[in-house]
Amino acid sequence: MMEIIGIWMAALLTLCILSFLYKDNPFYKFAEHLFVGLSAAYWAVYSYFNILYPNLIQPLFGHGQLLLIIPLVLGIMMVMRLFPKVGWVSRWPLAFIVGSYSGYNLITYLQSNALEQVRATLVPVIQIESWKNLFTNPGVMTFLNAIAAPVVVVGVTTGVIYFFFSKEHKGVFGGFARIGVWFLMIAFGASFGYTVMARISLLIGRMYFLLHNWLHLI
């Protein structure tokens, strides 16, 4: 019985949300407010039991890890926002969060977005085996394999050139930057198509739920 009630609720709320495709209406508003309110409450409870309790309350008060007094104090300072007279105190933990994460991210970004990318791009531009393959067995795939390495090197180099901000994109430099934009746009086009396919599969999943689980039509 509970399962049937659940399926009916899910189906009706799905229709309420899909009614947005027509225009804003009371059914959408109801589903939207329910979604926002329920999820906000869910995340509040989730945050307490999965973040606050196991990472702060239990180790501090249960196991006496006194070092955790520092985040506890920072957390209390953050809550001071609720009291206008001492609200300025919350700027300190905010400054700590922004400063510490900026510093931390400098290293991770430099590693993953710069050095590792450069390392992965250092390949011989002429892959002799691939070219031999192309001449012995001409075809689209062997051709693409042969030109893969130079395309990657040119794409990465001109892509980085596009993101130069302190030099005007004119002349030869501007030409390289334009090639970089072409590479970016082709990559975005491929990504667009790939992601749209994933979104359509989500829509198919929802339609299947309505037609199969709810209406038993398929």
């Binding site: 979604f35 906000a40 994460y101 931390y104 400098l106 710069a114 390949v123 050139i161 901000f165």
Partner: protein, 377 residues
């Protein structure tokens, strides 16, 4: 044949074979470049450990804190392996390791290591390239900040999306509609959100000057706090502290699609004249941008999420691609500190291009050591 009631012949089917030959050269050493608590044990395979037979099925690794003490089994390694990492050691305590080859019935005589203890290292020698890169980038940034502070004019090329920011605020003002600023769905630990909050300050200052209402729906409570502080500061610096309304910078929910549903509803009811999407976005990007587009608002987006950029490019009037989002704060404020930082980063990119071009030539000529030099550990 029966001995004491046991069928000895049947027993010998299982255990009649000789135990495997022992592994040799058992060495134990502290695991390098770690925070302690680990010892690596290596050995040379047993002579019986070959593909053709099953005389050795695994290696048993034992540990003791005294050579003549009791050895405890701490783990196994499969046939063919010559290494085991013990990640349960206490730094400073001496351990002896013993390795036996086994066919899961009979074990070889043990081979024992010398005493060894684990310790933490201050420096990770495999990450020297990271240290060099970080020091170099920091030096370049500080160098150009110093130059900018001394009054040297630093050029920044026009970025269409950023030049349109003031126009978008002006357009919303002329239409008598509010501005909506969406700072993404990530928390303040994300560098894109930090960049977004900085841009929000600039947008808020313009909105305050033009006396236009600014709505900032947030997906994270910390982002809401940071956004409130930033907008308040901007209103004060524009001399319009009276117009600041903290309730317009509100938290909706942490849930990705709950947030998208809430923002969509706000868009349709508030009908903003300009919408900014700056920060980290995932699958909600197109849901938001399409709804914003349907309201007729001018839309400017900026993100470094490669999978979401195509959607913003499709549905928005202007899009800041990746690094352009991080350059926005310098571009908009023209502050020497930020301009110098941007110039320093550009020099870093120039070095990266030089390494790329030079590296590819060297690798093509067979000099592949450069790849190892760039390893980040």
């Amino acid at each position: 044949m029966l001995v004491a009631g046991i069928n000895v012949e049947a027993f010998e089917v299982l255990s009649s074979s000789e135990p495997p030959v022992s592994p040799t050269e058992v060495l134990a050493k502290d695991k390098p470049n770690d925070a302690g608590g680990s010892i690596i044990v290596t050995w040379r395979k047993s002579d019986d450990d070959v593909e053709e037979n099953e005389l050795v099925k695994e290696y048993l690794v034992f540990r003791s804190s005294a050579l003549d003490g009791e050895f405890e089994l701490i783990g196994t390694a499969n046939k063919g392996f010559e290494k085991f990492v013990d990640g349960t050691t206490i730094d400073g305590t001496q351990y002896y390791y013993m390795v036996k080859a086994s066919d899961r019935v009979l074990h070889s005589p043990p081979a024992t290591s010398e005493a060894v203890s684990s310790s933490a290292q201050w420096f990770h020698s495999g990450r020297i390239s990271m240290l060099v890169a970080t020091v170099m980038i920091c030096f370049l940034i500080l160098w150009f900040i110093r130059k900018a502070k001394k009054g040297k004019e630093l050029y920044i090329r026009p970025i269409a999306g950023l030049e349109a920011v003031d126009d978008a605020v002006g357009r919303a003002t002329e239409m008598g509609k509010p501005i909506m600023y969406i700072p993404g769905i990530a928390d303040m630990d994300d560098i894109q959100t930090i960049a977004s909050v900085i841009i929000l300050g600039r947008v808020a200052r313009k909105a305050a000057q033009y006396e236009t209402s600014l709505l900032v729906p947030c997906c994270r409570s910390i982002v809401m706090s940071a956004a409130q502080e930033t907008v308040k500061e901007a209103y004060i610096s524009a001399g319009r502290s009276d117009a600041y309304d903290a309730d317009k910078i509100r938290y909706l929910t942490d849930d990705q699609f709950g947030y998208a549903a809430g923002v969509d509803g706000m868009m349709l009811r508030e009908k903003p004249g300009a919408i900014f999407y700056m920060g980290t976005f995932y699958a909600e990007s197109l849901i938001l941008a399409e709804t914003g587009h349907s309201t007729g608002a001018i839309q400017i987006a900026g993100t470094a999420m490669p999978s979401q950029l195509p959607f913003f490019i499709t549905a928005c009037d202007y899009t800041l691609i990746g690094e352009e989002l991080f350059a926005a704060s310098a571009y908009l404020s023209k502050e020497p500190l930020l301009l110098g930082s941007l110039k320093g980063q550009d020099m870093g990119k120039a070095i990266i291009i030089a390494i790329l071009v030079g590296g590819v030539i060297l690798v093509s000529l067979g000099f592949t050591k450069i790849i190892a030099w760039l390893a980040t550990g």
